[in-house]
Amino acid sequence: MADATMGRTARAPARREAMVSPRARRTITSVVLAVLCAVWVYPIVWMISASFKTNNEIFGDTGLIPDAPTVENYARAWSEANIGRYFFNTMFVTVGSVVVTVIATALMGYVLGRRRFPGRGLLMGLMVFTLFIPQGYTIIPVFELLTTAGLGQSLWGLMLATCGHSVVIFTLLFAGYFAQMPKELEEASRMDGVGPVKTFWYVMLPLSKPIVVTVVVLQTLQAWNDFLLPLVITLANPDLRTLSVGVYSFRGEHFIDWGGMNAASAITIIPIVILFLFLQRYFIDGLAGAVKG
């Protein structure tokens, strides 16, 4: 094997990396990567496996395959930890905030990117200035505002506030994208007697699909992973907890039930992982759009 490799690359200069054929190098790379990836996802695989084990078995040295697989942890997590309810809450906040965010930021980005209206410079300046404001800076007034508006104890309040996290970045992404489009687009539709709202909805928004995908992906990740805001809003109201906060509280309340915790964790990650596996291309294009845009 080694001889054949040497023979095939004999013409190449005698550098160390040229000693091995490209194909053999790729195989070696693949093996190294496979080992790395196995280590990389081991904690998650271990967690899924532990979710089928009894509490005693988890800390016994039994490897990844449970001796006597049990779904009891899942039943306990579902009933005691209220995971079903948290699941619904998370879906509501995620889907709602994605819809609101996409529409609001696309509209605002469209106007900022294509119109020279009075006040545009001021608005752009304000937005850039607040681009990287940390959540710790805004959380107290946000909580107070929601309470004053009567939304401090509601999923709607949580959903709306979740829209706020990245509204500036998303708007700027849309503005940059819309600004590059030819201005004949609106002229053509005005000639045809199409109103501005229809032009936006049927012409401009479909054309900005790459940015829409980026915003949907980033906002989904944001909402599903969000922690500080739901934690603060649900401190006094456990019924509104999202999965993240629910799993966190489960740990605080049942701190020795590791089997239940792992089952609750598995329930939390399974939907987002499935979503990711199916929409992987969009996730990757979406994130890539954030850097290129």
């Binding site: 967690m47 605002m108 800076y137 934690l231 740990r251 290129k292």
Partner: protein, 320 residues
């Protein structure tokens, strides 16, 4: 400012402001939803925080007493605040370079189209990114547990250490452990950013370099790197900002402990405002002042980075 490029010729610069506002009425209508969200959850909280930072205010229902800059003076003398501030800086410096380097190496390897399984590897490396921090906190508490945790079993079994290491329970080790967990969780995103940057390298360049007899490693070092280098500033900025906002991971994993050893800025703010130690009152004004100082520091960092971007842009060929 010329108005020649927009689509409402009637609203030239010489027309009155009222006319121009009216001419753009549909635009303003379009702005409403975004402005409501931006105003309510970004702009107003920013301004309000600055006002609250001047108050002695213990709890949302209690009286607010104006105390001027007292909160700021006390903060700068508060060892917990100062420690938390530098801990946030340390955390950023410890994680961002490692995360960027690891992400870059993975991206360069996985960018090879002939590598058949690269999509599978990419997916696996991305998996921790979509795993919520509350889950990661539980998994890592188990993984790193000093009582029969798999990692301790491994290193004691291999004879690397005599006794089990308490990765998350030791004040000396906890920040390093958290930095490691953080890099593990987020490198997948950095890798995708670098892969996006690599897409901007034209195929012809690889081809040309290969025909010139340049080796793969040389292509990467001398052809690809200079092209994607400008992206480093943007990726670095995004990574630094998220490392400064590490609240979820730390609150979920250690809650700032043990003995405040992992209390970063936002954990400090959360504790002061929403989860005061039993027997004490929340200090909303004090926490707001901490938030303002932290926000100003991040803004300073952002401005520095923007200046850096401008400088790299200017250095590009064609701009002298």
């Amino acid at each position: 400012m010329s108005t020649a490029d927009h689509d409402i010729p009637a609203a030239g610069p010489r027309t009155g402001l009222g006319t121009r506002l009216w001419a753009h009425r549909v635009d303003y209508l379009f702005l409403v939803p975004g402005l409501v969200i931006f105003g309510a959850f970004i702009l107003w909280p920013m301004l309000a925080s600055q006002y609250y930072s001047l108050l002695d205010w213990s709890g949302f229902d209690s009286r607010r007493i104006f105390v001027g800059l007292r909160n700021y003076r006390e903060l700068l003398a508060d060892e917990f605040f100062v420690a938390a501030f530098w801990r946030s800086v340390w955390f950023t410096l410890a994680t961002v370079p490692l995360q960027m380097l690891l992400g870059l190496v993975l991206a360069v390897i996985l960018n090879n189209r002939l590598l058949k399984l690269s999509a599978v590897f990419r997916t696996l490396i991305f998996l921790p990114v979509v795993t919520p921090v509350a889950v990661i906190a539980i998994v890592m508490a188990l993984m790193l547990s000093p009582f029969n945790g798999p990692i301790n079993d491994l290193i004691t079994g291999a004879g690397l250490v005599q006794r089990a290491v308490d990765f998350l329970g030791s004040p000396q080790l906890v920040m390093w452990s958290l930095a490691g967990i953080y890099v593990w969780k987020w490198t997948g995103v950095t890798m995708i950013y670098w892969l996006a940057a690599l897409q901007t390298v034209p195929d012809e360049l690889y081809e040309a370099a290969r025909l010139d007899g340049v080796t793969g490693r040389q292509v990467t070092m001398y052809v690809v790197m200079p092209i994607i280098a400008p992206f480093a500033v943007v990726i670095g900025l995004i990574s630094a900002i998220s490392a400064l906002n590490v609240f979820p991971l730390i609150q979920a994993t250690t809650q700032g402990g043990p003995f405040f050893a992992s209390e970063v800025m936002e954990v400090f703010i959360f504790r002061t405002a929403f989860a005061p130690p039993s027997g004490t009152f929340p200090q909303l004004g004090y926490a707001s002042a901490a938030g303002v100082l932290f926000g100003l520091a991040i803004m300073g960092l952002t401005i520095l980075q923007v200046l850096a971007v401008r400088r790299t842009r200017r250095k590009e060929p064609g701009h002298g």
